[in-house]
Symmetry: C2
Subunit: 211 residues, 2 copies
DNA sequence: CCATTGAATATTGTATACAGAATACCGCCC
DNA sequence: GGGCGGTATTCTGTATACAATATTCAATGG
């Protein structure tokens, strides 16, 4: 099956990659002209991608003054975190029983995460993969898509935090405890631990931003 | 203070208005050329608005085949409803105590809603206003914005339903019961009734779509 | 020496142009 | 008469062009 992907989507990915790579730091202005030239496409698909990123909270768009990478802000992070946390809890709730093979997979990801020390990008990818794997049984596709989009925001905060402060402490322990509860089929406990995991993560990031 | 609004936003509102007005029924193809001509602007801002509406679930965009109004679908409605319901519960949860004047306002809206019989559009506006008023104390602005965006989807379903089936039964009674619980400062009960209200609404709409 | 103003430049928001894909139309063959 | 193939047209996706606003920077006055 061959698929044509619109340029706007490729540009979207490219811009996101640059932001996540640390290229394009917070508050940096993003000129569509430059991006278009660098990516070898015209301004049209670039602007479409940038408009989308603005709506998703990754960029800011001021009328007449173009786009810029949204600065890190504790309030914004807490707001986004509360939303994402709630939606992930919903997704977990909607997921039926999680097959033991997926639980095993979660364990693997978590072990790899624990073993990865220096590589910030890898850590974040693994953490996100852990969450995605946990929720991949959720039948509400719109919800899954939404969660995936919303992850763009915490990603930026985690990256900045990990770069400077080392690693999200306890993350793997939390994961393990959640998986353990799921193994016992104790949804109640799993849910509670999942909430706690999120809350701790948000607090940690928030405190760091306000340092 | 004078404000220039981008054409794309005005076009966005205009298209949404047409969809809500019943012009542009579900599954109708939307040609950017036509819209641009009718609105007296170029294709560029029109396409920006249409792309946004696609991302928000109001339109469909098939690569190479343009845009069309997303057909009504029970699954999609249930998925969106579950998300919106959860986020509104979160918003209510985050709202502090609701001042009695706002509770009074909610009562007024509800009375007007009960009194409005024939006017479908007015009913929907009032229902949405009731929800917006209920949650306007929520300090999480991102959440409020998101809820407001997500409402675009149920709106379409409610409109279709109300046009054909009369009115969302019991809606005002539910509202009253929720307000009553809030008056007693019984958050627990209010939350439960709020959940129930949503669940019933979604079920009713879903059953109707699958009729 | 610093603030201010004005022109020059850069950059955005919007309009138009162009190429290629998708759809519709029409004649042909069965 | 109905299905099929080819062409013509329409429409989309992308590129480019244009006009207006924002920014920069130097010259001028305080």
């Amino acid at each position: 099956m061959i698929t044509r992907t619109p340029l706007r989507d490729q540009v979207y990915d490219a811009v996101l990659a640059r932001i996540n790579r640390g290229d394009l730091p917070p508050a940096r202005r993003v000129r569509d002209t430059d991006l278009a030239a660098e990516l070898g496409v015209s301004r049209t698909p670039v602007r479409e991608a940038l408009l989308r990123l603005s709506r998703e909270g990754v960029l800011e768009a001021d009328m007449g003054r173009g786009f810029s990478v949204r600065p890190l802000d504790a309030t914004e992070m807490r707001e986004g975190g509360a939303i994402l946390s709630t939606l992930e809890r919903l997704a977990l709730d909607l997921s039926g029983d999680i097959p033991s093979e997926r639980l095993a997979h979660l364990g693997e990801i978590d072990r790899e995460l624990a073993a990865t020390r220096g590589d910030v990008d890898r850590c974040i990818d693994l953490d996100e993969e852990w969450h995605r794997t946990l929720l991949e049984g959720c039948p509400n596709l719109r919800l899954r898509a939404m969660i995936s989009t919303l992850w763009q925001v915490p990603r930026r905060y985690m990256r900045a935090f990990l770069r400077e402060a080392g690693r999200v402490s306890l993350s793997t322990q939390h994961h393990a405890r959640i998986v353990e509860a799921l193994r016992r089929n104790d949804r109640e406990a799993a849910m509670q631990r999942f909430s706690h995991h999120w809350q701790r993560g948000i607090e940690e990031l928030g405190a760091w931003i306000e340092r």
